[in-house]
């Protein structure tokens, strides 16, 4: 009787022990499977990330090695862009009446915008009357860099509100006004319009610096929407021709994307320091708020 009870309890103990061991084995197996799954995932994702990073660095290197446009202006802080010069610009209607209406139309409509208390350039008798001898030489002690993406709607608004005021400061010889197109919205069109437009800008700088302002304004005037396909290269060529560039000097560079590397390099450099467009630097310092009044106050402070 006692033996039987003892035997039973031994059996139960053995059964319980076996169950416990099975559970422990199951737990170990689960942990092994979970850990190895996580390890495999981490390895796969890590490999992908490293490959993409390597490709990214290669692209950056290619962009670095690519040919920049001629006629670039380099600021003391190392920004390579287009130095605005009204003497060779065709944006003001009175300065060169021969320009196409689409190019000359946009700057003159920008005389109305809010806030800018300064005399609007197109209302004054003639921009050349107020133009200082030092304008557009890059010799002013204050340098203003404007980073823009031609796809960025806020950049268009910025140009409409502040573009004319900036140019009149440049005309008066108070600032060196430098445009640096970037392509931070490259993925917002199916055809990478941002990069193509910035590269086309580079092509116009290279071929005809006196037509850059007109082309710049035309790009904003016919800005495509984010999420669309963007404008085709052929239309960019047409716009450059309308802005007054000889077709044979520009067509190949735009359709072949000769200055895409320059556009990409500028974008890479830009995004390492700044997060959005438009970004305006006064002597290398970012202007925090871009409403017309703040910008004017900052400019006047810098000019002294």
């Amino acid at each position: 009787m006692a033996n039987a009870r003892q035997a039973k309890s031994t059996r139960e103990k053995a059964a319980a022990l076996r169950l416990e061991q099975e559970r422990a084995a199951a737990r170990r197996r689960n942990i092994t499977v979970a850990v190895s799954t996580v390890v495999v995932l981490v390895v796969l994702i890590g490999a992908y990330a490293l490959i993409r990073t390597a490709k990214n660095q290669q692209d950056a290197k290619n962009a670095e090695a690519s040919k920049p446009p001629t006629n670039l202006f380099t600021t003391t802080t190392g920004v390579e862009g287009y130095l605005y010069d009204s003497a060779i610009s065709s944006t003001s209607p009175s300065a060169s009446p021969s320009t196409s209406p689409s190019a000359s139309g946009s700057p003159s409509t920008s005389a109305s915008p809010s806030g800018s208390a300064s005399t609007s350039p197109s209302a004054s008798p003639s921009p050349s009357a107020t133009r200082a001898a030092t304008a557009g030489k890059g010799t002013a002690k204050t340098t203003v860099v404007v980073y823009e993406d031609f796809l960025c709607p806020v950049c268009k608004q910025f140009e409409e509100a502040d573009g004319a005021a900036l140019r009149s400061y440049a005309d008066e010889g108070k600032i060196n006004l430098v445009y640096r197109p970037v392509a931070i919205l490259a993925s917002r069109t199916s055809t990478d319009y941002s990069t193509r437009a910035a590269a086309a800008f580079g092509a116009v700088v290279n071929a005809a610096p006196d037509r850059v302002s007109a082309f710049h304004d035309a790009l904003f005037a016919s800005q495509p929407e984010e999420g669309s396909a963007g404008l085709p290269d052929t239309q960019l060529v047409d716009m450059a021709v309308q802005a007054g560039v000889a077709k044979d000097k520009i067509e190949k560079d735009i359709t072949q994307g000769t200055y895409k590397g320059w556009a990409t390099k500028g974008t890479d450099d830009f995004t390492k320091k700044y997060t959005g467009t438009p970004t305006v630097l006064i002597n290398g310092n970012q202007v925090k708020s871009l409403d017309a009044a703040t910008l004017k106050a900052e400019l006047d402070k810098a000019i002294g």
Partner: protein, 164 residues
């Protein structure tokens, strides 16, 4: 009351799994499609050294989608929930430090640029509240990982009900 909770808890956990998976898919997919923007967005937070920005930016969306896949399948639910919670803590830390350092950025949480915004504070508060909500759901799931319609249950990977 307790019994009712026990009856409902697996389904509540399933709902939590699917909810968090949905969040990760909505957040991870645009980040994967637009990887370069994601990298810029990571850079905008100004936490990681430059060398790590790109690998992190490329890996992040895949981690999010992988965790989403685990959550949908209900595989290693507790591990997935803990990873989710850890990621939420990381995102919260990123947003809070951006706020504290006075960076004016958009979080880029669901893809997007991490662009400059003029008044970021309402965005920061909204993002923080949202991530705290996600964190709460993830912690619930980590505490009660047993759920209906889960591979864990099929493979008997569930912790024993008495101990849950």
């Amino acid at each position: 009351m307790l019994r009712r909770f026990q009856a409902w808890q697996p389904w509540l956990s399933t709902a939590s799994r699917l909810f968090l998976a949905g969040v990760f898919i909505l957040a991870g997919w645009p980040k994967l499609i637009d990887a370069d923007t994601t990298v810029r967005s990571v850079r905008a937070f100004k936490i990681l050294p430059e060398g790590l920005v790109a690998p992190f930016g490329y890996a992040l969306p895949l981690v999010e989608l992988a965790v989403a896949a685990l959550l949908i399948a209900g595989l290693f639910t507790r591990v997935a929930a803990l990873i989710t919670a850890a990621m939420m803590v990381m995102f919260l830390g990123g947003i809070i430090q951006a706020w504290a350092r006075g960076l004016s950025i958009e979080c880029g949480c669901f893809g997007g640029t991490g662009t400059l915004v003029s008044d970021p504070v309402p965005g920061y508060i909204r993002d923080i509240l949202r991530d705290v909500g996600f964190l709460a759901v993830a912690l619930f799931l980590a505490r009660w990982p047993r759920s209906a319609l889960a591979v864990d249950r099929f493979l008997q990977l569930d912790p024993a009900p008495s101990r849950a």
